[in-house]
Symmetry: C2
């Protein structure tokens, strides 16, 4: 069996920066992270052992405590609240997410109704929508547009990990109902490249393994893209989930990983496959 | 044989206004029109008889002479030249074309590279491009995009009589190569409605007649749209061109007309068909 690793699998720039800074921050004592730093339970556990405690509520923290804002960012109201509490903010918002926030804010200030193309419940989208004004809407797919009241001047930004095809389909639909559109394609290059590489690889192999957190939207989307290429695709978090029966009659296995999947998790999967050390 | 006239056939608002004002202007003496007022030779002849002389060059006119700027508009340099010559300007630029000019100018001032979706040689497009700055380009179809150097911030306007499908195809392609797009859909409602009505009618009939100037871009586009529906389509300027052999075995005839086709030309066609007074 041949094992082929996709180009651009694993940590992106924003995640790498967040993880490194979080580990560094623990050298001066424990730090708190508002929500899991990344959508990868294995890496979050490693961070916890080093002194990064994940919390859902920071209202009980004391003045001077360190609070990490994770790569997905937060709405401005949350940032204000943390500052007013006297917390020491370690802002690890991905610079590309920050750009989407600033574009949303500028579109709002220019009087556009802001459409954020993304997943309603995703923390990144919730952080962006916080900057987008009271008429802003989140649109996950083109059908969602039937449910919302649209104005004639529409500004568009995207969750940084959106698929381009979904984004462009929504832009095209909005073009048909508005007189003025201002569009910022804020999908990050790393996402586009990773999705494209996964798609190309899926076409060449018999089965795809997609490695990453089940709560990771970008990892799940990689799996969707591979399935759309008509290939059997398994989304796993760790090497131990690999099953022998997935590889019957298989000559080529493709492997990719989400932007929040650490190298050590990916390497364990690759080693397990190479040693053919697979549960039966 | 049943004869069905398309909704929205014939003069649009901008043309009607231009014709009426031109006729009114002749009550105080002869006036000059820079290029044919509309793309309809029959109506231009009627205007000529009333005292509207079509000219290609106004440099020999005298101070105080009346010069009509036709519905397609002119680039600002031409307008300045006419003013500096002391001519009395009768500006009949269609308000919708004026809007496209102003949007092109604003996009230029905001630092966008302006893309005008339209026909390179059409006077309306040449008037808009005059406001669009030195990096501006005219794009007729999606293939044209391969030939031009594009910047990352692109502003888009359309010739008012473009087909929406061509416009949206070009916007979609530009979305894939830029990080920021600002799009004004300046296709006028009258064009969209007329094209849509022609398409619907073409589906219901056995043959289509499209009435209007052969030099009229919007009339030619109506004929193209009807042919795309798979129906035999004849583009005629006057009733005398109708041929008996077009109607063998035909039960339903559809008729439409361009935005620059006067009612009297269209009515002559309809009367000829109703009387079955058709050349053999």
């Amino acid at each position: 069996m041949e094992i082929i690793l996709a180009d651009k699998a694993g940590f992106c720039f924003g995640v790498k920066r967040a993880i490194n800074t979080a580990f560094e921050a623990t050298t001066t004592g424990n730090v708190y992270c508002f929500g899991p730093l990344i959508h990868n339970p294995q890496e979050v556990e490693r961070l916890r052992k080093a002194g990064v405690e994940t919390i859902d509520d920071f209202s009980t923290l004391k003045e001077g405590n360190s609070l990490i804002i994770r790569s997905h960012g937060v709405p401005p109201s949350i940032l204000e609240q943390a500052k007013s509490q006297g917390l020491k903010i370690i802002d690890l918002t991905c610079p590309f997410v920050g750009k989407a926030q600033r574009h949303a804010e500028a579109l709002r200030d220019e009087g556009y109704q802001v459409v954020v193309v993304g997943e309603k419940e995703h923390p990144e989208v919730q952080s962006i929508i916080g900057y987008a004004g009271k008429n802003a809407v989140v649109i996950e797919n083109v059908q969602d547009l039937d449910e919302v009241k649209l104005q004639s001047r529409i500004g568009i930004v995207a969750q940084t990990t959106q698929s381009y095809s979904n984004f462009s389909e929504i832009v095209l639909k909005l073009l048909s109902v508005s007189k003025e559109l201002k569009v910022y394609n804020t999908i990050c290059n790393s996402t586009t490249e990773r999705q494209h590489a996964a798609q190309i690889l899926a076409r060449q192999v018999d089965v795809m393994l997609v490695v990453g957190g089940r709560n990771s939207a970008n990892t799940s989307r990689l799996a969707t893209i591979c399935r759309q290429e008509g290939k059997p695709t398994h989304h796993i978090e760790v090497a131990g989930e690999i099953r022998q029966e997935w590889f019957q009659g298989v000559r080529k296995i493709g492997v990719t990983a989400g932007a929040s999947t650490p190298d050590w998790v990916l390497n364990e999967v690759l080693e397990r496959l190479q040693k053919n050390d697979i549960s039966r």
